[in-house]
Symmetry: C2
Subunit: 191 residues, 2 copies
């Protein structure tokens, strides 16, 4: 009863509890604050500071979870993409993630993220690597790095534009279609 008990003065595993309630609030659309998270967790307003240096540290931890989930979404269920349409599905999944968990996506990106040894950077690098591998396997003679950057950029840009309402679509289906179209359109420009 040392790590999971939650009675009395000591909470048991406040850090995990804070992370999960913060994530819930984020997904629930509530504009979360450190204090609100603490309140929700039934703990004093300053308790989180024992586990996170500041608000940014909490967000960073959430972002890391987010990157793990996104990576799982992209790499987990499916095989490595073996064709251009497969790659398009990559982009579709990326955008779908952003639209399904908008607040998390904003926490993952949308911040300077200047910490040199930031875990977020490592997580993002993992994403980059996954993509570059897939692309290198698909187009061995092309510049895999440039392609990976392009693919990531395209998926990310579409995700942001749809998320911010700069591009609009009626349904998730339509978004997926448009993303597919865009991906295939640009990839067939070289005639």
């Amino acid at each position: 009863m040392s790590t999971s008990g939650k009675s009395g003065y000591h909470h048991g595993d406040l850090r995990a509890a804070l992370l999960s309630t913060a994530m819930e609030m984020l997904e629930g659309g509530e504009p979360f604050s450190l204090r609100a998270v603490a309140r929700q967790a039934g703990v004093s307003p300053t308790a989180p500071y024992r586990h996170f240096r500041d608000r940014d540290a909490l967000e960073s931890a959430l972002a890391v979870e987010g990157f793990r989930d996104l990576l799982a979404d992209l790499g987990g269920g499916r095989d490595l993409p073996a064709s251009l349409p497969d790659l398009a599905e990559f982009a579709v999944a990326y955008v779908a993630f952003a639209l399904r968990r908008p607040a998390l996506f904003r926490v993952m990106f949308g911040k300077p993220c200047d910490d040199a040894g930031d875990e977020r950077v490592k997580a993002a690098d993992a994403l980059h690597r996954l993509l570059a591998d897939a692309l290198h396997r698909l187009f061995p003679d092309a510049d895999a790095s440039a392609l990976a950057v392009a693919g990531w950029g395209l998926a990310h840009g579409l995700a942001c534009l749809y998320l911010d309402g700069k591009l609009q679509a009626a349904s998730g289906e339509e978004v997926a279609d448009r993303v597919r179209d865009a991906f295939l359109a640009i990839a067939s420009v070289g005639s």
Copy 2:
């Protein structure tokens, strides 16, 4: 002395003054707040509320200025792109804008922007149209809309990734090179 006088109780043209000092602070890297802007403009903390419904309205006005400038950057100096490399320069200019005025770029994007009749949306549409026109002229038989979405998405995604430090480069030159490479790489995938 009705619109530019700034002595006494009435300011003359507070709205414009607020916008310009807010823009200066934004470009100066200061994390601006409504109160700080008012302070800088030498006016009481709540004076801005006579001209902007809330903080978001001020940001929205700044964003509109930003879109105008970005559009000028993209369309103003240069001819409509007549080749693929020209298009790549479009993307380069887009990313350069984002890196040159990061805070403004974040204000322009990076927010839900759910207001239906929002001027920001119209400004963004103008951008979309410019791009679609250019692409339609370049590739008359392709799906111009899908291409425009793809091009915008690619440029925007790269801008965001560089801005957030998810992609890194030593200099502006290097960023430009990478953007060009990415653009040309993805456009030549169809072998």
